[in-house]
Symmetry: C2
Subunit: 218 residues, 2 copies
């Protein structure tokens, strides 16, 4: 398998963490898509992913799977023992709900803030910006931090009683918040402590160091 | 089970179609959330779904599951025979990718257009609008129609060789397009013909008539 991504990116982090949680690192090689050069918006890459986002997983038969949730579903199902996406109907429902909530309220909101209300990836890549929309999304993300703080005051993980895809998406949101210097509000101490603890998980800690050259794997 | 929704809504359609495909209609009652009155943005409903969207599924034990993809995952897993969300890792990956792509490129884009660049649900509900952003999302949705037209020229369904959650999301997008009078471009004849055919599926055709009073079920 081959993954097209950008090692320090928050969305790539989602799949790199999932890979490590599933102990699949050795089965994957990585190909760099340089976001700073806008390679994800160029014709060659758009043929791999219509939406122009990383990461994209390419299977050995050439099948392309984009979107972090989709890639995580694929990886989690490979061993017939899903540990990240839910085992029972109720777990599947709760994990997918909280995963999507973490996307729309936190991670995607910070991404829109970054691309629309900061210099983002630079003027050559950010050819359209809507600053007002970006600032509103920033405020939405800050509110979401308080929401997830409340959730984590009541339970150890975001969706159920074990680490799941939904936790990974909240972690990616907080990684993105750090990158754009969006501080977790001081009143969200539970969320900040939880994030500090999650950073100690090997899958989170070692995600950027995971890459090996694409030539080394299939 | 109980579903909070608004019968003619495009997002509620996703879950109603899934319910009918899974032959689960008789196990569900419906409670109306009147979007035209902004009930989905009021405190009582926000306690059920932080994001303030319909539909929301309430299980008999009180568990609340929001987000269409999450509800569909739950419903599809109930009988141990998933027919909408994928059986193999590859199917799961492709269905979730195309489901998400249909959301971000088509359905969600049209929703943003509706709420931001038209009168939407009216001035009492649409208290913030960003028209420029809404119009850009409209253009994105039109481009997505051409993309899905191309997909359907090559295969009978959006994600794989059978009807899945991804088809439901494209159908919901096209239902929303009709509601807001956003025409499928004349050059997208394959998509238009496919949508006409999908409308003949009982699950799509009868979705609005499905409701029964919440008092009649549990």
């Amino acid at each position: 398998m081959k993954i097209y991504d950008f090692p320090v990116g928050p969305y790539p982090a989602r799949v790199r963490i999932a890979l490590a949680e599933k102990k699949l690192q050795s089965r994957v090689s990585f190909a760099l898509v340089d976001l700073r050069k806008g390679q994800h918006k160029q014709v060659e890459f758009l043929a791999k992913n219509y939406s122009g986002t990383v990461p994209v997983l390419e299977l050995d038969d050439g099948t392309l799977i984009a979107e972090c949730t989709a890639i995580t579903e694929y990886l989690d199902a490979l061993d017939g023992n899903p540990s990240l996406t839910g085992r029972t109907p109720r777990e599947k429902g709760l994990i997918h709900m909280m995963n999507k909530r973490a996307e729309i309220e936190l991670l995607d909101a910070i991404s829109v803030y970054f691309h629309h209300a900061t210099s983002g990836l630079g003027p050559d890549v950010e050819i359209y910006q809507n600053q007002e929309w970006g600032l509103r999304q920033r405020d939405k993300a800050i509110r979401a931090m308080a929401y997830f703080d409340g959730i984590l005051q009541r339970q150890p993980f975001v969706a159920c009683d074990y680490f799941s895809m939904a936790d990974i998406t909240v972690i990616a949101g907080l990684i993105f918040a750090e990158l754009v210097k969006l501080a977790v509000p001081s009143e969200c101490g539970t969320l900040a402590a939880w994030f500090a603890e999650m950073k100690q998980r090997p899958s989170v800690r070692d995600r950027v160091a995971m890459s090996k050259p694409a030539a080394a794997g299939g």
